[in-house]
Amino acid sequence: MNMIYIVFIVLLGGALLTFFANRISGLLRDTFFLLTILATTVLFFTKIHIGDTVSFTLAGLNLKWGLDAFGWYFSLIVLGLGTMAAFYALSYMKGKDRLGYFYFSFLISILSMLGILMSHDLVSFFIFWEVMTWSSYLIVIYSGRNVQKNGINYILLSALGAYAMLTAIVMVYANIHTLSISEMINTYPQFSHVQQVWLPVLFLMAFSVKAAMMPLHVWAPGAYSDAPMAYTSVFSGALSKMGIYGMVIVFVSMISYLPDDTLFKETFAWLGAITAILGTLWAIAQDDARKLLAYSSIAQLGYIITGVAVGTDLAMLSALFLAALHALFKGTLFMAVGAIERQTGTVKFTEVTGLIRKMPWTFIASLLAIIALAGIPPLGGFVGKWMLYESLINSNHYILVIAIFFASTAAFLYCYKFLFGFFLGQEEKEWENVKEAPALMVLPMLILAAGTLVLGTFPGILLKPADAAMQTLGYASTEGHLWSMSILFNEWGDQVLLRPLVYAIAGTFLFFLIILTVKGWKNTRYVSTKDISSSGEVPLEYENLTFSVNFYQPFLRAVGPVMKKRMIYYYREFGSGMEALFDYSRRIYNGNGQTYAIYVMIFLVIILLFKNSIFG
């Protein structure tokens, strides 16, 4: 039996075992869960090699699964983050109910993501896509909060996208009578012009939903914040990347054939940029950490989409790099929020402050992740951002680069809000007894955060598989030309040597940190944050010194007009309008049997009157 089958069987079987073990004992369930994900990871990375394929026939359709370098790159994200989140989940979910259900959905969603990455035909791609949708939907509604709002929004938009994709798939199938993705890509140039335009549009609709692109992003804030954080890290870090995965394929294999005057790429790049900007602005306005991170995810995915849409070597490389990196730091951040939620019971910046001394490890992980998110040099985020900017400038997207830059500058605001809101500021009495999260939660965060640190200096570790992935897509190898282990080049030949820069930064930082710490070490003592000089007075105990409400009021006032109405407002208007229409339509059934009989006669008479035109 082929290893590919075995991986899927292990995952499915493990999921079911976990589900049923829940009835027997919690320990057994946890063991199964952990074993399943570990076994999958190990089997996947040791036994399945790039190039392996299996094919079989189901319902008269030829289905083919296999692994290529491109899929491998993304499965790295999925399984890496998935494993970490699994460890994290063990501790995070402890004591909650319906755990069998949660772990089952978790594993199934991992399975579906691997399935997507290994599908070489459209039907299994779609099947796994839908499985991914509902398995993640199950987790979104797991908490039972706002299911009717956020859950439905999620499933609704996902279905919208999935059905758009399904339309495209059947169009392809009807045209070329085969479902193979590579076949579709090969024959794409021979499609009619209308189809050439519509196919990518429909596919991209599906992918944009998962990648939370404007204007299909409205599900994301709710869904991300409603799912348990152990899963949201996967959700935002890995699952949304499936959208990116699809987008890359569509852009490389279809849209690059379209004539330039269709403005396809431009539109998409701009949609990505607008997503980034709006996501950032809305993230700034949030008081709920989960929402903040959700909007931030939208924004980050916006960068990635822009990179994909621009599609030059460097842009694509940056998009792939950012995709992996986003998994690392957003995974960390969601986990951190989860840890805080678990330890304090709230995730509102307006409620919890000053945790830095209570949860130092969480803070360190968050700090690293935030620095990576902001794209500040010594960490991995900078590498991705640098490549993105350079690629945009190199490929003459001048205004786009400004837009992206605006978004990433504004991102500092919410980055700071995250750190300040939770960790800095006043240490309130209410949170005096908060403890650091258990090691099983902290370690995954730290590992992921360390990943960003390593990648900041040696991006080549990740760029190598990314490069291999791009070669699968038909790009030439860019190693040595655009990147090496720790050097980045742009397409004009300018370069950034990361190592000396990082060493210099680290050296300076440590030097001054040591100076600052050592100087007067003995005499400097820690005092409570209450003990401050407020206009020359020491404030009293009960004075409120926490600044967290209306945090960025001036800024939001400046960008006010943009943020007057959220996109979801228009969706809601549309939705309620439709529901009113539906409600009106069902009044046809007015309850009177005679009326129904008259309908029968009307139907008959209409057909009789038009029989010549109906039955030619």
Binding site: W134, A159, L160, Y163, A174, G593, Y596, A597, V600, F615
Partner: protein, 497 residues
């Protein structure tokens, strides 16, 4: 040789006549006998299916008169498939309703007779090769359905039943008119014979007969303006009967209509008409379902919508389209029955059957709720459950016929469908339970019945090949009109006395 198709009619009739008698002897036999009959028929159906797959259509003449003079039963891959499906659904519904609600002996006698007859009538509609005989079976089915709709006394069931009856009477009127028109032209009632001679009819007769057939059978097939009775009847009938409606009766109605359109009259434009009418049915029904506040009405509207989809798929008219339609009929029978069966335990003790009464029942009825959720996910076409494959086949059939608009409409409507199903599932799982609701634990029979359906959904979902072979031969047999005529008309000569 385990039997012939006529046993599908004869044995249940015999049983139905026997049940009152046996009731005098042993009361429990009233409940058991229908099950035994159905079990035997299931065995028979499966055997005959194998035989048909092996050696082609079985045509059985009645009373020894060859077609077109006598009545004949046709057990082709298509009718055999539908028969098997109906018997299977009937058997499952029997398991489910073995001890459903606390009805006394006298009621049980009537309930099981009527249920058995409804199933038999539907099977007869499918099997028979005679147009008037089909009418008789339609009436058998309808009368049992009226009575079963009005079975519960405490509700507005009589109202629903009366509406059904008015429209059903119109339906039988139209059918008879159509039969009159055909007979006045051709002097024959055998379907194969009519199909063979249809070109001899004056065009006016042909079109008018077709229109009457479409109207009359459209009522049974729940086409849009003709389906006023449907939601009421589905909602007011006992749960298993609702399942039987959507799993059995409607299927028979659709089959009759499709047989008329595909085999009897080959009028151009009918297919487009089917697509349009099916589409309207689909859209209106799904729209009406969204704002329903009663569970069973919602399911009923959804059922109408699915039937519209089936009709659209038939309207596509290609082998793929017919395949898709049959697949959808199969899946819909299984899934919607599961929804009705599990749904009626979710609103078991309620009189109004409001959706909000199901809030938070997942904790109290875990398996029922799970099966309902499974059904909901399956019916909206989420892979890897059964509904996906039928949706896929419809879409690919439409795509092969270049009906992009149809695809888009079907999918947009699917989104609506998804919304209202998931809303209900969410309520069941995540809303706080209403205080005054007293959930009733399903009996072991009910659990078995629902689980069988759930397993079927999974089996078809994960391994669609288990049914696609039969469906393909069925769809071919529907489209091979000449072969049908030949099969029926050539068997006869041997049997003349």
């Amino acid at each position: 040789m385990v039997g012939t198709p006529v046993l599908f009619i004869a044995i249940p009739l015999l049983a139905a006549f026997l049940i009152p008698l046996l009731g005098f002897v042993w009361k429990e036999s009233v409940r058991i006998l229908p099950g035994l009959v159905l079990l035997y028929l299931l065995y028979l159906a499966v055997n005959l299916m194998g035989q048909v797959a092996h050696s082609g259509t079985i045509v059985e003449v009645i009373a020894g008169w060859a077609p077109p003079w006598g009545i004949n039963l046709v057990f082709s891959p298509l009718t055999g498939l539908l028969t098997t499906l109906m018997i299977l659904m009937g058997f499952i519904i029997w398991i489910y309703s073995y001890r459903f609600k606390n009805i006394d002996f006298r009621e049980a006698v009537k309930y099981f007779i009527l249920l058995l007859m409804m199933i038999t009538g539907s099977v007869g509609i499918v099997l028979t090769g005679d147009i008037f005989n089909q009418f008789v079976f339609i009436e058998i089915t309808s009368i049992s359905a009226y009575a079963l709709t009005a079975f519960y006394k405490g509700r507005d069931s009589a109202e629903a039943s009366f509406k059904y009856l008015i429209i059903g009477s119109l339906s039988s009127m139209f059918l008879l008119l159509a039969i009159v028109l055909i007979y006045s032209q051709l002097g024959t009632l055998n379907m194969a014979d009519i199909a063979d001679k249809a070109h001899l009819m004056k065009p006016g007769f042909k079109i008018l007969a077709l229109i009457f057939f479409i109207t009359g059978l459209g009522i049974e097939a729940e086409i849009f303006p003709l389906n006023g009775w449907t939601p009421d009847a589905y909602a007011q009938a006992p749960g298993p009967v609702g399942a039987a409606f959507s799993g059995i009766v409607v299927k028979a109605g659709v089959y009759a209509m499709i047989r008329v359109i595909f085999t009897l009259f080959d009028v151009s434009g009918t297919h487009q008409f089917l697509i349009i009418i099916g589409m309207i049915t689909l859209i209106i029904a799904e729209m009406a379902a969204v704002k329903q506040d009663r569970l069973k009405r919602m399911l009923a509207y959804s059922s109408i919508g699915q039937m519209g989809l089936v009709i659209v798929a038939f309207g596509i008219g290609t082998e793929e389209g017919v395949f898709a339609a049959l697949f959808l009929m199969l899946n819909h029978a299984i899934i919607k029955s599961l929804l009705f069966l599990s749904g009626s335990y979710l609103v078991y003790n309620s009189t109004e059957k409001y959706i909000h009464e199901t809030d938070g029942l997942a904790k109290h009825l875990p398996i029922t709720s799970f099966l309902f959720a499974l059904g909901a996910i399956a019916i909206v076409g989420m892979p890897p459950f059964a509904g996906f494959w039928s949706k896929w086949s419809i879409l690919s059939a439409a795509a092969h016929s270049n009906m992009i608009l149809v695809i888009v409409l079907i999918l947009s409507v699917s989104i609506i469908e998804l919304v209202y199903y998931f809303r209900v599932v969410n309520r069941i799982y995540f809303f706080p339970k209403q205080k005054e609701v007293e959930p009733k634990r399903p009996t072991i029979n009910a659990l078995i019945a629902m689980s069988i359906l759930g397993i079927l959904i999974l089996v078809i979902g994960f391994y669609p090949d288990s049914v696609t072979g039969y469906l393909h031969s069925a769809s071919q047999s529907l489209l091979e009109k000449g072969k049908y005529i030949q099969d029926v008309l050539s068997t006869g000569q041997l049997f003349i006395q």
